[in-house]
């Protein structure tokens, strides 16, 4: 089992969720994060004073998957998370991290392991 953490652009969330459904990954946890990366931040103004804001809003997905779902999940995210003209992808579209996962337990009935995912 793997723990896949993906950082994506907020406005691609809906598309990614759809793509994941298509490969039968229905469960995931979403959270609000901010990232520093290659992408430049934006400039805000306060009474004429420029402020460079480098933290950029991103969405984090955490998805626990069985091993045979790892590649489909990565592929689905890769495809759907790309933004820009023609969906060719651009700086800031994010990254996917794969961590080992040792166990999963479902709270409601105590089911463990791959079955519980």
């Amino acid at each position: 089992m793997k723990w896949i953490t993906a950082i994506i652009q907020p406005f691609r969330l809906e598309a990614v969720k759809q793509a994941l459904s298509d490969v039968e990954v229905f469960r995931l946890t979403v959270s609000d994060v901010q990232g520093y990366g290659r992408q430049k931040g934006h400039t805000e103004y306060f009474r004429g004073q420029a402020m460079q804001v480098n933290l950029i809003r991103k969405v984090r997905l955490d998805i626990a998957v069985n091993d045979n779902f790892v590649q489909p999940t990565i592929d689905a995210i890769m495809k759907a998370a790309r933004s820009g003209p023609g969906g060719k992808g651009q700086i800031g579209d994010g990254k996917i991290f794969v961590l080992p996962l040792e166990n999963v337990i479902r709270v409601s009935d105590g089911t463990q392991g791959g079955e519980a995912i």
Binding site: P10, F11, L13, E14, V59
Partner: protein, 481 residues
């Protein structure tokens, strides 16, 4: 410590004892009362438009555009208190109940408005029946309120329509205050029925007793802008309803995180602003009495805020912003019955007392453990009662013709006390009755699941704020939507 769900029966018992005592005191005073019914006192006349109407037949009155302008504005200001109250209350409850709590204020506004139109105005200000209620079928649906009809209030003529809508606002805001006691756990349906029943059975008669020419008016009781009718009535009724409903889940072990003190403070600011219409508008005209009421209102609010902040600073070394806001409201409540009768030096004193005493009343609540969520009782009930007593104490004949205890008129003080006690008793009994009716029929309280989820999503299907992660694309219309 009270149990989670209260025992209204025991409570009703005590109320009846109180009532008996009041009736005795009342009988005593009435028997000694000069024949003041119908007598029009300067600055007090406006409360009984029916007597003013008598004058209409004789001369053709002219509209006083200045007083009309002031009363139009005052009415708008009182209306604006309701969105202010919604923010004040909404900011104090948990995030999940923000809209549900605002909705209580707004519902009071719209529902009572129609009740007033249908028959509320008639019950409060129709022709007096034995000092108990107004009755004048011609005023049902406001049919008998001619748009061109002028009445004499506060010494000058304004359209009756203006008087009617000014009074409507008072009828609306009073039960909106009660909503503070039942916050975060009452059924909306039940609250709407409560509004209708309570307004009809409690507010309208009480308004009639004091302002519509009823028995308290005849007795000589004065209440400038509603210490009894609005403040005591809402505070005491709030307490009764809080006891009927029982505590919120988890209270008091899990304390409630207020959703937005910044907005609560803004709501208090709006309340203060609107209260000028409430208090100075109660002069019924743009007169010196209105000016004195305005200045007194300002002083009392400021003094009470300082008193509350100082008291809590002594108590736990933190002067809070909610404390300032609460003090402001306490001061405004206490000066409400007094503002048009007391001298200028008295109002800061009234404010100081209100700030300290209402703060203590909240601490008593915390000790006892009943759950009057937003302290309608400790602030409005206690503050209104205090205000009535202090009106009887500090009233100065130079201001508006009424002398209080310090000017030697002990009788006026007794009458004010009686009026306050009567309002307590009447509101308690009336509300208990309404509470029993609702409890036996539609029920008062939302389910535990709904209470946990919050009123906003549970009743309204809405969120007060989009605070969630990734808001943009989180929602889609279902296929069949």
């Amino acid at each position: 410590m009270l149990p989670g769900r209260s025992k209204p029966i025991v409570f009703a018992d005590r109320v009846f004892c109180l009532l008996a005592a009041i009736l005795l005191l009342g009988a005593l005073l009435v028997s000694s009362a000069p024949c003041s019914a119908g007598v029009v006192k300067p600055g007090g006349a406006w409360r009984s438009p029916s007597s003013a109407t008598v004058g209409d037949a004789v001369v053709h009155p002219t509209i006083d555009t200045g007083s009309t302008a002031w009363m139009l504005v005052s009415t708008a200001l009182v209306m604006f208190m309701i969105p202010g109250l919604a923010l004040f209350y909404g900011g104090m409850v948990r995030k999940k109940n923000f809209l549900g709590t605002m909705m209580h204020s707004y519902t009071a506004l719209v529902v009572i408005c129609l009740q007033w139109f249908l028959f509320g105005y008639m019950l409060a200000f129709g022709k007096d029946q034995y000092g108990l209620i107004g009755w004048q079928p011609g005023k049902i649906l406001l049919l008998g309120v001619s748009p061109g009809h002028l009445i004499n209030v506060g010494g000058s003529y304004i359209p009756e329509t203006v008087f009617c809508v000014f009074q409507a606002m008072f009828a609306m805001i009073t039960p909106a205050v009660i909503a503070g006691s039942i916050a975060e756990r009452m059924k909306l349906r039940s609250f709407v029925l409560f509004l209708l029943l309570w307004s009809t059975l409690v507010y309208d008669p009480l308004a009639h007793f004091v302002w519509g020419g009823g028995w308290l008016h005849q007795l000589g009781a004065v209440d400038f802008a509603g210490g009894t009718v609005v403040e005591i009535a809402s505070g005491v009724s709030g307490l009764v309803m809080a006891l009927f409903l029982g505590r919120r889940l988890g209270y008091p072990n899990q304390v409630i995180q207020p959703s937005s003190l910044a907005l609560a403070l803004s709501g208090a600011g709006i309340l203060w602003f609107g209260w000028y219409g409430f208090n100075a508008g109660s002069a019924g005209a743009a007169t010196v009495v209105a000016g004195a009421a305005f200045l007194n209102t300002t002083m009392a609010a400021a003094a009470a805020a300082i008193a509350w902040n100082l008291t809590e600073w002594l108590h736990h070394r933190r002067p809070t912003t909610l404390g300032l806001a609460s003090g402001v409201v306490a001061g405004l409540v206490a000066i409400t019955p007094a503002c048009g009768y007391v001298a200028l030096w008295a109002s800061p004193l009234i404010g100081l007392l209100a700030g300290v005493i209402c703060y203590m009343a909240v601490q008593v609540k915390i000790k006892i453990g009943y759950d009057d969520s937003l302290d309608a009782f400790a602030v409005h009930g206690v503050g209104g009662f205090l205000g009535m007593l202090l009106t009887g104490l500090f009233a100065s004949a130079a201001v508006n013709g009424i002398a209080g205890l310090i000017e030697g008129d002990g009788r006026q003080f007794l009458i004010e006390s009686l009026a306050a006690l009567s309002a307590v008793a009447y509101a308690a009994i009336g509300t208990a009755l309404v509470g029993v009716i609702l409890q036996k029929t539609v029920g008062l309280r939302v389910s535990e699941v709904l209470e946990t989820e919050g009123l906003d999503m549970g009743i309204h299907g809405e969120n007060a704020w989009d605070t969630g992660a990734v808001p943009e694309l989180a929602a889609t219309i279902p296929a069949g939507g």
